[in-house]
Symmetry: C2
Subunit: 205 residues, 2 copies
DNA sequence: CATCGTTGAATGAATGTTCAGTCAGCCAGC
DNA sequence: GCTGGCTGACTGAACATTCATTCAACGATG
């Protein structure tokens, strides 16, 4: 494990990261339907041919890219566990379906939803998004269960409520990037808060 | 308005309908990413070249196809206005995001969501889905307003509640076709009913 | 010298599109 | 009522372009 291998490994990881970055840029620029090896190569600092040195082909690359995107997303959705369940739930909702998004996050969401649009006809994609949704649902369910344990939440079925929240979040995300009137997000969030007040939060109007 | 023009028009409409059908078949068979003029032609009884006689090109055809799909969807979501608001709301929810879907409707939904996945990078698509969502939101809002008028619904903001329902519906639809575990729909619907009981319906537990 | 990341050029297949031409039915003029 | 031109749906074979993929060669590094 001399400098050699470590450097080589680092280089390879760097290259792979650069490929992911180039793929992301090409996707956001041209859309999935027009995402070609040529375009990825154009966004890539190195040559197009090098892509084939690191991946078997386009499919292989895109499968890895989807994994890369989902990992980034889940890292982004991480949040500190120091607060009480109610604050954690609000924070998580803001994080994954907030009303106001910076431009970078908006572009990222658009890319993710475009990938999701391939899932109906691609079992590999569908599998990944199934797992991805499962992870977020678990996150919601744990917070809800903690709130119930603590006594600050009503005794609802955590799994059921979590699935409902997940569906709403996914609805917000797909609508945000496929509609021109983004204003609806605030209304949805306001009504979601009403739901939380009525169904989940204890000792509140 | 002799037989001539009427016959000619009917023929043209028939041909166009056949093209839409062929496009739909090709889309459900191969997915949007692999939807080519060749494949559409293969599903078409007439020749591939004829597509260019009726449309300027692939883009033109697909824009018309999206309109065709949305019109079909909205026709499908039509329902009788004879019942009371609560029954109408439940019926509409069942229609557009029911727990159990026949195979044809499921395939249709998958096709629609695949089209929606193109919207982030296609302004024409985005515009259409914006309008499409607006129509369904109006539908919800009218029913809610009727319920409030009638006194059977609480005095909520119809527009806000409608947007929330729409978001949930869109969440259900995208999840249904992009996940392997379709079971979540029932949970979402159950929790949505809880929301309706708590926030909307009057005189019910 | 050997290795490995890297490249530009090249290849064959597939894509969207064009086009010259066929065919059936209609209408005007005889 | 017949004929001949005319229109428009329709076709098959081509077209140029773009695609994913391959490969022989290069240069730096060890």
């Amino acid at each position: 494990m001399g400098d050699t291998s470590r450097f080589a490994a680092a280089t390879e990881d760097d290259t792979r990261a650069a490929i992911m970055r180039a793929t992301y840029d090409a996707l956001t620029s041209h859309g999935y339907a027009n995402l070609t090896i040529q375009r990825i190569g154009d966004e890539f600092e190195k040559s197009k041919s090098l892509l084939y040195h690191h991946y078997d082909g386009k499919d292989d690359l895109l499968v890895d890219f989807l994994r890369f995107m989902l990992e980034h997303w889940e890292a982004k959705a991480e949040c500190r566990e120091e607060q009480d369940p109610r604050a954690r739930l609000e924070a998580l909702l803001d994080r994954v379906a907030g009303v106001e998004l910076d431009e970078e996050t908006a572009a990222f969401t658009a890319a993710m939803e475009e990938l999701r649009g391939q899932a109906p006809h691609d079992a590999a994609y569908r599998e990944q998004f199934t797992e991805h949704d499962r992870a977020l649902r678990e996150r919601f369910a744990e917070i809800i269960a903690a709130g119930i344990d603590e006594g600050s939440f009503h005794n609802v079925d955590p799994a059921r409520a979590a699935e409902f929240l997940l569906t709403t979040v996914n609805g917000v995300r797909i609508q945000r990037v496929t509609r021109d009137d983004a204003g609806g997000v605030a209304a949805t969030r306001a009504e979601l808060d009403e739901y939380l007040d009525a169904r989940l939060y204890r000792g509140d109007a």
